[in-house]
């Protein structure tokens, strides 16, 4: 039916920390379909971020193979958008100029890219803040700008590393809902790393539970909740509860186990 967008097979990754080798990811195999929303959840130190970095092409895995659209990843891919928990906005640029940044680097015409940046700021609810500098915006607003910047380059794949993790609880709900709304309209492929189980179930088509030390896939669960969804809407239904309990059982074991082991610092 749908095509495989990202294919990860037998991927392992080692880091060297203080001359000691640490296995960050062990034998990961995962396929993400085109237009699928996959959430990865796991205790800290399970290598979630490392996996995103490898998919993005920031660095190569020690062993194993990652393909995007059937082609092995050999470097940074301009068709991938990547969003961090830290907004990483350029503080000397206005909101508008930050959203424009990706298109500017790609040599887009000034008028068009400005038009598109304006449109995206409107979509993320920041109309009227085009000329504001990041220091004049709240954390939630900065993360909206960051989201607009990620979407401005019109990526096929959006990698998100705890994008709403640094926000307060209410702002987080609002942004999750807005992102769902945008995503359900465009259906890009999304790999979404989070430590929030509610967030994972509410948004994703599939939730992948990671274990730590070394990072590996513990279980994969399909989220068969109907779309369009709202982050708060389905939260109290029986189906949601069932998925939550099922996933929490897997996750709790890993979190407790992770807490009992000395941290490696391997991310």
């Amino acid at each position: 039916m749908s095509q495989t967008k990202i294919a990860i097979s037998n991927l392992s990754h080692r880091f060297e920390i203080d001359g000691r080798e640490v296995l960050a990811l062990a034998d990961i195999s995962l396929e993400v379909d085109d237009g699928e929303f996959v959430a990865i959840i796991g205790p800290s130190g399970c290598g979630k971020s490392t996996l995103l970095n490898i998919i993005s092409g920031l660095f190569a895995p020690s062993t194993g193979r990652v393909t995007v659209d059937g082609r092995p990843v050999t470097g940074l891919n301009p068709r991938i958008g990547y969003m961090f928990a830290r907004d990483a906005l350029l503080p000397w640029r206005t909101a508008l100029a930050n959203v424009e940044f990706g298109l500017e680097l790609r040599g887009g015409a000034v008028r068009e890219r400005r038009e598109r940046a304006r449109e995206l700021l409107r979509i993320v609810g920041l109309q009227g803040f085009e000329a504001s500098y990041p220091s004049q915006l709240s954390q939630g607003m900065r993360q909206r700008v960051s989201l607009a910047r990620t979407l401005a380059i019109d990526p096929d794949i959006v990698l998100m590393d705890e994008p709403f993790g640094a926000l307060d609880a209410q702002t987080k709900l609002v942004l999750e809902d807005e992102f769902l709304r945008i995503w359900e309209r465009h259906r890009k492929t999304v790999v979404f790393v989070t430590h929030d189980l509610f967030e994972a179930i509410a948004m994703a088509d599939r939730v992948v539970v990671f274990g730590a030390h070394p990072g590996r896939i513990k279980s994969v669960v399909d989220v068969d909740l109907p779309r369009p969804r709202s982050v708060t809407g389905g939260r109290f239904g029986p189906r949601f509860q069932h998925l939550y309990e099922r996933l929490w059982e897997d996750l709790r074991y890993e979190v407790v186990r992770g807490a009992l082991e000395p941290p490696d610092g391997g991310r």
Binding site: L76, I80, F84, A88, L90, W92, R93, G102, L105, S135
Partner: protein, 266 residues
């Protein structure tokens, strides 16, 4: 803190600060004046505020002082601009080519820790008693300040910004122009402000040692004939000039760094 930033409250606080400042100035000058009037100290050695004011009025009325001011400012300006330009470019080059930075590090540190003012006699031997030796002295002071600051700025770039730019497709050149350069600007500005003060120091010290014109020459000349009032009034002029230049830099900085968060009291 929040109520402090209320415009009215802030205005009141500012007015009070200014009253205190004026009071302190009057107290200091008054004590000085009284001490010389009542023979506590000899005005021959320390002059007095009234004598200095009279001298300033006379010199400004005579007009010749503006020539000396112009000479000093011209020397400082040339040394500042050349030193800043070379320092900034060198700072970026060293940040870009790490190997070069490692090789040159001990030399830069050694030259930088040498009190450059001690080089003044040598510069005068090499470049004569005119303009050039003062410009070179000012340059030698400014260039290292800007080099060190620019290098530090370029090295302290937020790595998140570098990664984001690379992910969005920035080339090496774009990284330099659009990330490293702009994020170094606050560091460079801090260097420029310091450098401006040092350029003035360089020019004046050079003139004090040997010159035919300039405020440093005036100071040296006045001191040579035991004219303490003349020395003091030249110092006042220098102080005013240095403060004005610093204010100009502050305004330029505020304009260029509008994006920076407001720091209370800064």
């Amino acid at each position: 803190m929040r109520t402090m930033s209320h415009p009215r409250a802030r205005w009141g606080a500012q007015a009070r600060t200014n009253v205190w400042r004026l009071g302190l100035l009057v107290l200091g000058a008054g004590t000085w004046e009284a001490a010389t009037r009542f023979g506590v100290v000899n005005a021959f050695w320390v002059s007095s505020p009234s004598r200095i004011v009279v001298d300033l009025v006379k010199r400004i009325g005579g007009g010749e002082v503006f020539f000396h001011i112009a000479v000093t400012l011209y020397e400082a300006f040339l040394g500042f601009v050349l030193g800043a330009a070379v320092g900034i470019v060198a700072g970026f080059l060293l940040a870009r080519f790490e190997e070069l930075a490692r090789v040159l590090d001990p030399f830069v540190t050694a030259l930088n820790s040498l009190p450059r003012v001690a080089l003044a006699p040598l510069f005068i031997l090499w470049f004569g008693i005119g303009l050039t030796s003062k410009v070179v002295l000012a340059f030698s002071l400014v260039v290292f300040i800007l080099l060190v600051n620019t290098y530090a700025g370029a090295k302290n770039v937020d790595q998140d910004l570098v990664i984001i730019a690379r992910l969005l497709g920035a080339s090496r050149r774009q990284l330099t122009m659009k990330i490293i350069l702009p994020s170094s600007i606050p560091w460079i500005f801090a260097g420029l402000r310091l450098g401006l003060a040092y350029a003035l120091i360089g020019a004046v010290v050079g003139e004090v040692i040997v010159a035919t014109a300039g405020l440093g020459f005036e100071i040296s000349h006045a001191a040579g004939v035991f004219n303490t009032t003349g020395v003091m009034s030249s110092l006042i002029i220098l102080m005013v000039i240095a403060s004005l230049l610093n204010e100009v830099m502050k305004v330029a900085e505020a304009k260029l760094l509008r994006w920076r968060p407001r720091i209370p009291g800064a």
